[in-house]
C-alpha cells in the first residue's frame, strides 16, 4: 500500500519523481492504460513493454500532452492534468524519430530547442554550444543536419533535450538504429551524464540490456497495466532461490509433491525430458530437491540456478499475463 503524498515529509516528497493513481486512458473502445497506479523515486527508470503495451500513451501523459481519461497523478510535483506547458519546461524529451529541421545547422537546431523551451535567444545560443561540446559534437556544430550520421543525430537530439538543463530526461529509444559501436558510445555518454549530473531519466526502449546497464528501476507495462515495477536489483535478486530443473519420467508425482512441500512452479515445459522452472521454499537448499526426486523414484538430470536477467523476467511476465488473459477470455 502506498503512503498518500499528503502524509509524506518534505524530504520524502522531494524524492518522488512521479506518482500515478488509477490512471486510465482509452481511445474510443480501445483501453490503452487501465488503472495504472505507480510511484517512482527520482533516479534512472526503464520503461519497457511490447508494442501496444501503453508506453506511448504513458509518455504522452507524462509529457502533459494527453489528459488521462480517469485517475490522477503528479510528475515532478506537477499535476499532470493541469500543467502541460510548465511541466514540459522541466522535462527534456528526446524523440525516437529523426525529428530534424531541414537545412538547419546543428547549433541552430539545439538553439531552436532552447528557444522553444522558453530560453532567451542569446542564452539558448550560448547553451547550445556548451551542450554540443558536452555530447561530443563540438567539431560538427556548424554542419547541416542532413550531414550528420545516425549516431551523431542521436547525440544531437540528446543535446536538444539537455539544452535547458531539465530535471528529468525522457529518452525514447535513444540507441535505436545505431550500429554496435554507436550504441556503446551512446550508452557511455548516457552513463557519464547520469553520473555527472545526477539527473532523473526515463528510458523507453525495447532493448532491455540498455535498461539493465543504465537504469536502477524498471517499469514493465503489459496490455495497459503495470506488470511489474521496482528496483531492477531487487527483481533479479528474487531469482536467487529459483532453479531450472530437468528430470526423467514425466509421469512421476515429483512436481505435485514439490508443490505440496511449499515450492512454486513458475513455468513447466517438456523438451526431451520433463523440465520446470521452480522456486524453492525459503528454507530449502538445492540438496532437498534431489532428495525429493529420490523419494519419488525419479532422477534429476540437470539442475541450474535460474540466472534470470531483465530480458527473461520480461518474457516471463508478459507471457504469464498473456496466458492469464487468454484463460480468462476462454
Amino acid at each position: 500500500m502506498l503512503t498518500p503524498l499528503n502524509q509524506m515529509s518534505r524530504k520524502e516528497l522531494s524524492l518522488v519523481l512521479l506518482d500515478l493513481q488509477k490512471l486510465s486512458r482509452h481511445f474510443g473502445s480501445v483501453q490503452a492504460l487501465r488503472e495504472v497506479t505507480l510511484r517512482l523515486d527520482t533516479g534512472t527508470i526503464g520503461l519497457v513493454g511490447n508494442n501496444g503495451a501503453g508506453k506511448s500513451t504513458l509518455l504522452k501523459i507524462l509529457l502533459g500532452l494527453l489528459p488521462p481519461s480517469s485517475g490522477s497523478g503528479t510528475i515532478l510535483g506537477c499535476d499532470i492534468r493541469q500543467t502541460g506547458l510548465q511541466l514540459r519546461g522541466r522535462i527534456g524529451y528526446m524523440p525516437e524519430a529523426a525529428a530534424t529541421v531541414p537545412l538547419l545547422k546543428g547549433v541552430e537546431y539545439v538553439a531552436l530547442s532552447g528557444d522553444l523551451y522558453g530560453m532567451p535567444f542569446r542564452d539558448a545560443r550560448r547553451r547550445a554550444h556548451e551542450v554540443l561540446n558536452y555530447v561530443g559534437l563540438g567539431e560538427l556544430r556548424y554542419r547541416r543536419l542532413d550531414e550528420y550520421s545516425a549516431g551523431n543525430l542521436q547525440r544531437l537530439k540528446l543535446a536538444a533535450a539537455l539544452v535547458h538543463d531539465p530535471e528529468l530526461l525522457l529518452l525514447d529509444e535513444p540507441t535505436n538504429g545505431l550500429d554496435p559501436a554507436g550504441r556503446m558510445s551512446m550508452l557511455r555518454l548516457l552513463e557519464d551524464l547520469i553520473a555527472e549530473t545526477g539527473k532523473s531519466l526515463i528510458l523507453c526502449t525495447h532493448l532491455l540490456k540498455d535498461v539493465e546497464r543504465l537504469c536502477k528501476q524498471v517499469v514493465v507495462l503489459h496490455q495497459g497495466t503495470i506488470a511489474k515495477s521496482g528496483p531492477i536489483e531487487e527483481m533479479t535478486r528474487a531469482a536467487e532461490n529459483r532453479y531450472e530443473v530437468h528430470w526423467r519420467d514425466a509421469n512421476s508425482d515429483f512436481l505435485s509433491r514439490f508443490c505440496r512441500s511449499g515450492g512454486t512452479v513458475l513455468h513447466q515445459g517438456e523438451v526431451s525430458e520433463a523440465m520446470a522452472l521452480v522456486a524453492l521454499p525459503e528454507t530449502w537448499q538445492a540438496r532437498q530437491l534431489f532428495e525429493l526426486a529420490a523419494q519419488c523414484g525419479t532422477v534429476v538430470t540437470r539442475l541450474r540456478e535460474d540466472d534470470e536477467d531483465l530480458e527473461r523476467l520480461f518474457m516471463r511476465l508478459t507471457a504469464k499475463q498473456t496466458t492469464g488473459t487468454q484463460e480468462l477470455t476462454a
Binding site: 506511448s56 494527453l66 524519430a97 529523426a98 525529428a99 537545412l103 538547419l104 522553444l116 537530439k157
Partner: protein, 275 residues
C-alpha cells in the same frame, strides 16, 4: 512562435533555387521603383508620363484612375509569391510531418497553437516581405519624390489599403498553404494541388460565366476573389458589378479559410507527438 517563424525563413533563404523567385520579386520591385522615379524625376513629355503610368496602372491620386499602381504591384507580386509558396510548403510544414519533427516542436514548452501560429507567421512573413513592404516603400518613394505635404494628406488611405490587402493575402495564403502542406507533405503533390486550386476553379468559373452569362460563377476563381477583396480595400473597381461581387468574394474566401484552419488544427493533434 517567433523562433519557429525565424527558423522557417532561414530554411527558405538557404535553398538556392528559391533565390530565383526572390530575384523575380526584386526585379518587379525595381521596375515599379524605376517607373515612379522616371515620372517624378525625369524631364519627360506629359503624354509619355501618362502612358507609363497607365501601363503600370499607376496613380498616386486614387480618384484619378480606375486602377492603382500599388494594388497592381501587389497583384503581380502575388504571382511570384504563389509560385514560391507552392514550392516552399513542403520545406516549411510538410517536412515536420514527414520527418516527424512535430514531436520535436510539441514536446517543448509550446502548445499546438504556438506551432500553428509560428508556421502561419513564417508564411505570412514571406508574403509580407514580397508584397506589403515593397508596396509601402513604393508609396514612400512616390511621396519622397513629390514636393509638399499634399501627397501624404490626400493619399493616406493607400498605405492603410496596402496593409489591409496585405493582411488578407497573408492570412488567407498562409492558412491555405499550411493546411495543404500538413496533409499532402511532399513537394510535388503540394505544388500541383496548390497550382490547381488557384487555376482550375478559375477556368471552370470563366467557362460557366460565359455559358450562363452569370457573373457570380466567376467567384469560383479564388485568385480573382482575392483581387476583388484588394479592390474593396483600395476602393477602386474595374467594373461596377465587381463591388457587389467583392463582398461575396470576401465571404467565400473567409469560409474556405475557416474550413482550412479547422482542418489544420485537427491535423496538428498533440496525440501524434509520441508515436
Amino acid at each position: 512562435m517567433i523562433s519557429i517563424a525565424r527558423v522557417a525563413l532561414i530554411q527558405v533563404l538557404r535553398r538556392k533555387t528559391y533565390w530565383v523567385l526572390l530575384g523575380m520579386g526584386l526585379a518587379q520591385f525595381i521596375m515599379f521603383w524605376s517607373v515612379i522615379y522616371a515620372v517624378t524625376q525625369l524631364e519627360l513629355p506629359q503624354p509619355v508620363k501618362q502612358n507609363i503610368l497607365r501601363e503600370f496602372g499607376f496613380s498616386a491620386q486614387m480618384d484619378e484612375q480606375r486602377d492603382n499602381g500599388y494594388m497592381v504591384f501587389m497583384e503581380r507580386q502575388s504571382v511570384v509569391v504563389m509560385i514560391l509558396l507552392a514550392f516552399s510548403g513542403s520545406l516549411l510544414v510538410g517536412s515536420d510531418f514527414r520527418q516527424r519533427t512535430l514531436p520535436f516542436y510539441l514536446s517543448r514548452r509550446i502548445g499546438k497553437r504556438h506551432y500553428i501560429a509560428g508556421k502561419l507567421l513564417a508564411v505570412s512573413s514571406l508574403i509580407l516581405f514580397l508584397t506589403v513592404l515593397p508596396a509601402l516603400s513604393l508609396f514612400v518613394e512616390y511621396g519622397a519624390f513629390t514636393s509638399g505635404w499634399s501627397y501624404w494628406k490626400e493619399n493616406w488611405r493607400i498605405p492603410v489599403a496596402v496593409l489591409a490587402y496585405g493582411g488578407v493575402l497573408c492570412l488567407v495564403n498562409s492558412v491555405w498553404l499550411v493546411s495543404l502542406s500538413a496533409y499532402l507533405q511532399r513537394a510535388a503533390p503540394i505544388a500541383i494541388t496548390w497550382s490547381s486550386l488557384l487555376i482550375m476553379p478559375g477556368r471552370l468559373g470563366e467557362y460557366l460565366w460565359k455559358a450562363s452569362d452569370n457573373e457570380y460563377w466567376r467567384l469560383l476563381d479564388p485568385w480573382r476573389d482575392m483581387r476583388l477583396i484588394g479592390q474593396l480595400f483600395f476602393g477602386k473597381f474595374r467594373k461596377d458589378f465587381d463591388r457587389d461581387l467583392a463582398w461575396w468574394a470576401l465571404a467565400l474566401i473567409a469560409a474556405i479559410t475557416i474550413v482550412a484552419f479547422v482542418a489544420l488544427v485537427r491535423r496538428v493533434r498533440a496525440v501524434d507527438v509520441v508515436e
